[in-house]
Every structure is written in structure tokens, then in C-alpha cells.
């Protein structure tokens, strides 16, 4: 795996991001994720997490705001931004009729990776994710966990600087989830940057360097778990149990309750 030396202080800079559907889904969001950081984005259902990540990945055009990915203006030069980004959703984006190896060849082709690099890299990823015995089987019979691992291999084949994951652990069994988490940790150790949404707060608590809490399309709190506890303890609903020593779950609920009360 390639080791990334940070070329810019922030792998992701989002400023004043706005997206409206029937109502504002993302409402003037500001977000900065440091290079080499594991950032967890939390929020209740409908808070605007997925919309935000889809705009960062170039899958949705924002109504207003700016997005910079590894210093690249993602709205002015989306192709260059996509070159260094990977997107993984909770529904694995794979083709049933292709084998994992063929899938990786296709993704490498899409990202324009030279076969001499992509071939060995694919073998490495398949090995890493225990997919070698199934490398030449069509994906149509795979379990959810295996499909997600194939999608993850596809996302990593071009050595992305920024990996964006939307609920990647949904529906995975304990073994597959551990494997995915291990791959993501290794990625961060190698200098990659990860931004991930999850409803499994324990995962965010244990893996994330910093956590952002989003509600009603706005970032309402951000920091390490300790910083969030302090913030919730200062302003939050103490009946939920926020404050020093509180779990992330309590802290998160206190912050969201505070935001709901303010709204």
C-alpha cells in the first residue's frame, strides 16, 4: 500500500454548502477534515449526512458553497477531485455478473490505472480482504459482507487520498465488519483520510480521531469525544446524562436534543 505524505493540511474543506430538495437538506455546512484523519459524521436520520457526502463525491451538485478535495476545487474540476477520491455506500456498488477480479479490472480501467500497477494491486487487495478463493466467481451468489468487501477493494484499487463511506458497516456480520474496520485503520495509518457516516456510535467512538454531529443540515458540534462531552455538558440536556464521562451515545443524544430545542 502506498504511503501518503500530506501535501495539504486539509484533505477536505467544505464551506457554506447548501442543497435544497423540498426543504433544505444541507444548510450552509462548513466542514474541514485534516489529512490523515479518520472523521466520523454522525446525525439523526434525515440530518443531511448522505446528501453532504454525495456532494463531496461529485454525485450531487450543491446549490451553493465550495468543496475542496486535497486542495482541488471539486466543483471547478470534478474529474481531478474524483481521481483522488473513493465513495462507498451502504449498498455495495458491484455487478452481479462480474467476478471480483473482473470488477477490479473494470474499476481500474475507469480510474485509468495502468494494468501493470492495477493487476498486482488487485491481487494484494483480494488477499487482504480474504477474497482470493472467490476471485473468479461471479458476485451474484455473494453475501452482503462479501459484496461490501468487493466494493471496498474497488474503492481502494486507485489508492485514493480521501475515502468517503456512507454507513459501510450496515448489515455486515461481526467478522466482515472487523475486516472492513481493520482495512480502514490501515488506510489511515498509511496517511489516507477517511470520512464516514455511521449509526453505530461505538464504531465512531473507537475509530474516529474527530467526530462531527450534523442536524438539520448544519454542523452542530465537532471535535474529539472529550471535546464533544464538554460541549454537551456545557449546553446539553443533563437528564440524558451528558457531560464528563458520558458515553458517545449520551453525548450525541444531548447535542441533538439541544439543537432540537433551539430549533
Amino acid at each position: 500500500m502506498q504511503h501518503f505524505a500530506p501535501t495539504v493540511p486539509f484533505a477536505l474543506e467544505v464551506c457554506g454548502l447548501v442543497k435544497r430538495f423540498d426543504r433544505p437538506a444541507v444548510d450552509g455546512l462548513d466542514l474541514r477534515v485534516r489529512s490523515g484523519e479518520f472523521y466520523a459524521l454522525l446525525g439523526p436520520n434525515g440530518a443531511g449526512k448522505t446528501t453532504t457526502l454525495r456532494m463531496i463525491s461529485g454525485l450531487l451538485r450543491p446549490d451553493a458553497g465550495t468543496i475542496r478535495v486535497v486542495g482541488i476545487d471539486a466543483l471547478a474540476d470534478p474529474v481531478a477531485a474524483k481521481q483522488v477520491t473513493a465513495w462507498i455506500s451502504d449498498e455495495p456498488m458491484i455487478y452481479d455478473k462480474l467476478t471480483p477480479l473482473e470488477y477490479l479490472e473494470f474499476v481500474a480501467g475507469l480510474w485509468g490505472i495502468a494494468p501493470a500497477l492495477a493487476g498486482p494491486r488487485a491481487q494484494e487487495l483480494l488477499d487482504w480482504l480474504d477474497l482470493v478463493p472467490h476471485a473468479n466467481e461471479r458476485c451474484e451468489g455473494f453475501s452482503k459482507g462479501m459484496r461490501q468487501k468487493v466494493a471496498l477493494a474497488g474503492a481502494l484499487i486507485h489508492d485514493p487520498r480521501l475515502i468517503i463511506l456512507d454507513e459501510p458497516l450496515t448489515g455486515l456480520d461481526a467478522g466482515s465488519a472487523r475486516q472492513v474496520k481493520s482495512v480502514l485503520r490501515d488506510r489511515v495509518r498509511a496517511g489516507g483520510t477517511i470520512i464516514m457516516t455511521t449509526h453505530i456510535l461505538e464504531v465512531a467512538e473507537r475509530m474516529a480521531d474527530r467526530i462531527g454531529v450534523i442536524a438539520h443540515g448544519k454542523l452542530i458540534a465537532e471535535g474529539t469525544l472529550e471535546e464533544l462531552r464538554l460541549q454537551a455538558g456545557k449546553n446539553g440536556d443533563r437528564t440524558i446524562g451528558a457531560g464528563e464521562g458520558a458515553s458517545l451515545e449520551d453525548t450525541f443524544l444531548a447535542l441533538v436534543a439541544e439543537q432540537a430545542a433551539a430549533a
Partner: protein
């Protein structure tokens, strides 16, 4: 709702409510506000079809049950019945394999045979309900001009629906037992498509071999066939006699059809649940090993996309059967080409529109698969490739398949008649590009497995694609005789495509 929960009537109410809402959603594309427009459009179409019916069958209103008439009516009945069997097989296969609510039903303590009996009856009713609106204008005209005796035709359609369903259920269950649940899904759908096309194609091939024409009517009106047909008193003519108002024949046909349906229900319904469970326990897929070297081939994003489309199409026999089944209709022109190879230009003139039409229709289906039926849209959209490159690669994939299929036919035609080959070649390209463009303008996000419901997403696109193919086929046919005369149909075809572009939500 007064029916006892779990009773057959209760299930029938549940099924009819779902069927009605499904139909409504299909007709209005999920927008209830469109209902009034849909009703008006259907009414206008229905009235228009009465004029068409007056023009086509009006002169037969006073028909008497002589052999020629009985042959003509029986052939029409048989053709419609084959189509009904085809549709009924599709529905029956869905009943086995569609998991939408089967798990809920099978997990409940309700009597499974009741729900499946209701479902088989629903299939029979659906077959009749699908045929009635299409046949009604013709029957109405015959009633108006020939008297109430033609009312028997309505009864005949109900009987045909029942018999077609009984046969379809029997065939599907036979396949299930013969080749197992894993293969039945695909084979049943292929068989259904072949049954639907077989009668028309068979008549056309017979017409070509006997008379050198694509017209199947020439076979049905031939003195040889009429001379070899059974006597007037034969039971074979009962359906035709029923349509002509023979009450005894109608009662016989209805009784036989309902008896068949009842037998199918009694035999199959109690075991339907068991079959459905077996079908669900058998994945539709098996572990398939690809035989290829591990080394990656050098490729560009565009060729990666093209290769992916071709691989997915090649590896999905169901999709191949659905899309390339249209190729069955190329068999008659191919036979005509083979038979008329030394005969001169007359026959080639017939080939031009058939090939152009087939190319347009096939390109439309393939374009939908490549453009709208993308199973990993986010993956492709998140790739560092400009969207226009992605679209271009997919169009190239579609046109590549069209080229592979039609180039040999055009090449053979070129040896026999270079002019006709040139016109056909241009027509094939234009029709394929037009259909692909329409699919591109009206693209929507869907799963490839929803291919059969692709018309639902935009009826406008479906009609535009059909009329464009017809328009280019007509243009090519006229152009083969006179280029100047082809300007008028060409302008109309172009207007159809331009109109589709103007009405499309995405004017790419």
C-alpha cells in the same frame, strides 16, 4: 370489508386492490394528477380504434360460417391465444419466483391453496382483461354491422383467458418438475417468448417458402389450406363458431376452458406453496467460475465501460432472451433473403423496412440496459471521467452490438443488391441512433432486472421509440425505390425524434 379474513374472497379482495393500484401506478407513472389525462387519452384511442376496426373488419360483419371464414377466424383466435399463453406463463413464473409478499404469505397460518387459487384465477382474469380492450373495438363494429350474434366473441375471449392460464400453469409446473426450479425461471420465459412469436413467424416462413412473400395472409387464404382443413362439423371450429354467435359452440368452449382452469387450480394450487418454497430455496444463480488469466488487460475508461456492458449482456441469459428475442422476427426476412437470392429486386424491397425496424427496436432495448439499467450508477458517476465520455462509451457499446448483428445481413444483401444494402445500412444506423438518443433523453435510474417494466417509466419514450423506428423503416422502404419520395417520411421520422427531444426532461 366483510369477508372472513383468510378466506378466498378476502384474498381476492386483497389481490384485486393490489392489482388495481399497480395498474393505476403504471398508467399514471405514480402521479395521480395524471389520471384525468390518461382516461381522456384512453377514450380517444378507444374511439380511434373503432374507426380502424370499421376499416379493417367492417366488411366481414355479415360473414357466414363457411370454411374460409372459419379458417381466418380460427387463425386469429389461435394467434391471440398463443400470445395469451405467453403472457400467462410470464405471470405464472412471477408467482413462483417473485418474493415480494410470498414470504409473508407462506409464513402465515393462512391456507396457502386459497391464495394460490385466487392468484391463478387473477392471472386468467388479467389475460381476459388485457385482451378485451384491444378486441372490443373490432367486436363492437361487428356487432353494430352484423348483429348481436357477434357478442359471442366477448365470451370467447374470457374462455381463451381461462384456457391459456390453465395451459400456462400446466407448462410451468411441468418445466419445474422436468428441469428443476433453477432453470425453470429462464426457460419458462424463453418458452413464453417463443410461443408468443412462433405462430406469426411460422406463418411468415410458410408464406415465404410457398409464395415468396412476407404476408402470412396468403397462407391463411390459400385454397390448399382451406381444402385440407377439417369438415365444417369438426370440433376444431367451435371457437370460431362461438365468435360467430353459435350458442352451443360458445357454451362448449366456455365449459371446456373453465374445466381446464378448475383442473389446473385443483391440481396445482395445493402444491403451489411447496413449489414457491423450493424456488426460493434454490438461488437463481450458481457459483460460476470465469476462465481468464489474472493479468489485467490495458484499457481506457471508455473501453472498460464498453467491455463491461458487453460482458454483462453476454452473461445474463434472461436479458439476452428478452432483448435478442426480437431477433426471432428477423428469421422470416433472413429466409426471404435466402430464398430470393437469385430472384431479383422485388423481395429485397420487403427486407429493407423489416431490418431497419428491427434495428431501431433492438437498439432501444439495449440502450435502456446500458444507460438506464446501470446497476452501479454511483460507482460510474464517481469515476474521474467526464459524463459525456461515459454516455459516449455506452452508446458505442449499443451500436457495437447492432453492428455485429446487422452487418452480416447487410453484407449478404450487398452481394445480391448493393443499392438495397446501402439503403438498409444507412437506415439501420439512423434508426439505431434515433432509438438510442430517445433512451438517452428519457433516461431514468433502474435496475437491469426491471427491464420488462422499462416502458412504465416513460410511455412517451416508448411511443417515440416505436414511431421513430416505424418512421425510419418507412423512409428506408421508400428510399429503396425512390430517394426523392423518401423525403416526406424522412421528415416525419425526424419530426418524431425532434418532438421526443423537445418533450424530454434531459435535452442532452
Amino acid at each position: 370489508m366483510t369477508a372472513q379474513p383468510g378466506s378466498a374472497v378476502w384474498f381476492a379482495h386483497h389481490e384485486s386492490r393490489l392489482a388495481w393500484r399497480d395498474w393505476l401506478a403504471m398508467m399514471t407513472a405514480g402521479r395521480r394528477k395524471r389520471l384525468r389525462r390518461v382516461v381522456i387519452a384512453i377514450a380517444i384511442f378507444f374511439i380511434f380504434m373503432h374507426f380502424v376496426a370499421y376499416w379493417t373488419v367492417g366488411r366481414y360483419a355479415a360473414a357466414t360460417p363457411d370454411k374460409a371464414t372459419l379458417v381466418a377466424i380460427s387463425s386469429s383466435v389461435l394467434l391471440s391465444w398463443f400470445l395469451m399463453i405467453s403472457q400467462a406463463m410470464e405471470s405464472t413464473t412471477r408467482a413462483f419466483y417473485s418474493r415480494s409478499d410470498l414470504d409473508l404469505i407462506l409464513a402465515s397460518p393462512a391456507a396457502v391453496e386459497k391464495i394460490f387459487a385466487v392468484r391463478i384465477i387473477t392471472v386468467a382474469l388479467t389475460m381476459a382483461m388485457m385482451a378485451l380492450p384491444l378486441a372490443a373495438p373490432f367486436i363492437d363494429v361487428l356487432i353494430a354491422l352484423g348483429g348481436w350474434r357477434w357478442m359471442g366473441a366477448y365470451g370467447l375471449i374470457v374462455a381463451m383467458g381461462a384456457a391459456a392460464t390453465a395451459l400456462a400453469v400446466g407448462l410451468t409446473v411441468a418445466l419445474f418438475r422436468l428441469i428443476g426450479p433453477k432453470r425453470t425461471r429462464l426457460i419458462a420465459q424463453v418458452v413464453a417468448a417463443v410461443i408468443g412469436a412462433a405462430f406469426v413467424i411460422g406463418l411468415q416462413v410458410a408464406a415465404i417458402l410457398s409464395y415468396g412473400t412476407l404476408s402470412r395472409v396468403s397462407v391463411l387464404q390459400s385454397a390448399t389450406l382451406i381444402a385440407h382443413a377439417p369438415d365444417l362439423g369438426s370440433v376444431v371450429w367451435w371457437p370460431a363458431r362461438a365468435a360467430l354467435g353459435d350458442v352451443t359452440a360458445l357454451a362448449g368452449v366456455l365449459a371446456a376452458s373453465f374445466a381446464l382452469l378448475a383442473a389446473a387450480i385443483v391440481t396445482v394450487a395445493p402444491r403451489f406453496g411447496e413449489y414457491a418454497i423450493i424456488a426460493s430455496g434454490t438461488g437463481t444463480t450458481s457459483v460460476r467460475q470465469a476462465q481468464r488469466p489474472a493479468a489485467f488487460r490495458p484499457t481506457s475508461p471508455r473501453s472498460a465501460l464498453r467491455r463491461k456492458e458487453w460482458t454483462l449482456l453476454r452473461r445474463d441469459p434472461w436479458l439476452v432472451s428478452q432483448t435478442l428475442m426480437q431477433m426471432l422476427y428477423l428469421i422470416p426476412p433472413a429466409v426471404l433473403l435466402w430464398r430470393s437470392f437469385d430472384d431479383g429486386n422485388g423481395a429485397y424491397q420487403l427486407l429493407v423496412p423489416v431490418l431497419v425496424m428491427a434495428a431501431g427496436q433492438l437498439a432501444g432495448g439495449l440502450a435502456w440496459l446500458a444507460i438506464s439499467g446501470e446497476d452501479a450508477p454511483d460507482l460510474v458517476a464517481s469515476a474521474p471521467v467526464p459524463p459525456r465520455f461515459i454516455v459516449r462509451a455506452k452508446i458505442e457499446a449499443v451500436l457495437g452490438v447492432i453492428a455485429v448483428i446487422f452487418a452480416p445481413l447487410v453484407a449478404v444483401l450487398a452481394i445480391a443488391s448493393p443499392w438495397h444494402a446501402l439503403v438498409t445500412g444507412i437506415g439501420v444506423i439512423v434508426a439505431a441512433v434515433a432509438s438510442t438518443a430517445i433512451q438517452l433523453w428519457f433516461r431514468s435510474q433502474a435496475k437491469r432486472s426491471q427491464f420488462r417494466r422499462r416502458q412504465v417509466s416513460s410511455r412517451f419514450a416508448t411511443f417515440a421509440e416505436a414511431f421513430s423506428s416505424i418512421g425510419w423503416a418507412a423512409t428506408a422502404a421508400v428510399a429503396a425505390a425512390s430517394v426523392w419520395l423518401a423525403i416526406a417520411p424522412g421528415v416525419i421520422a425526424l419530426a418524431v425524434v425532434t418532438g421526443a427531444w423537445c418533450m424530454s426532461p434531459r435535452q442532452v
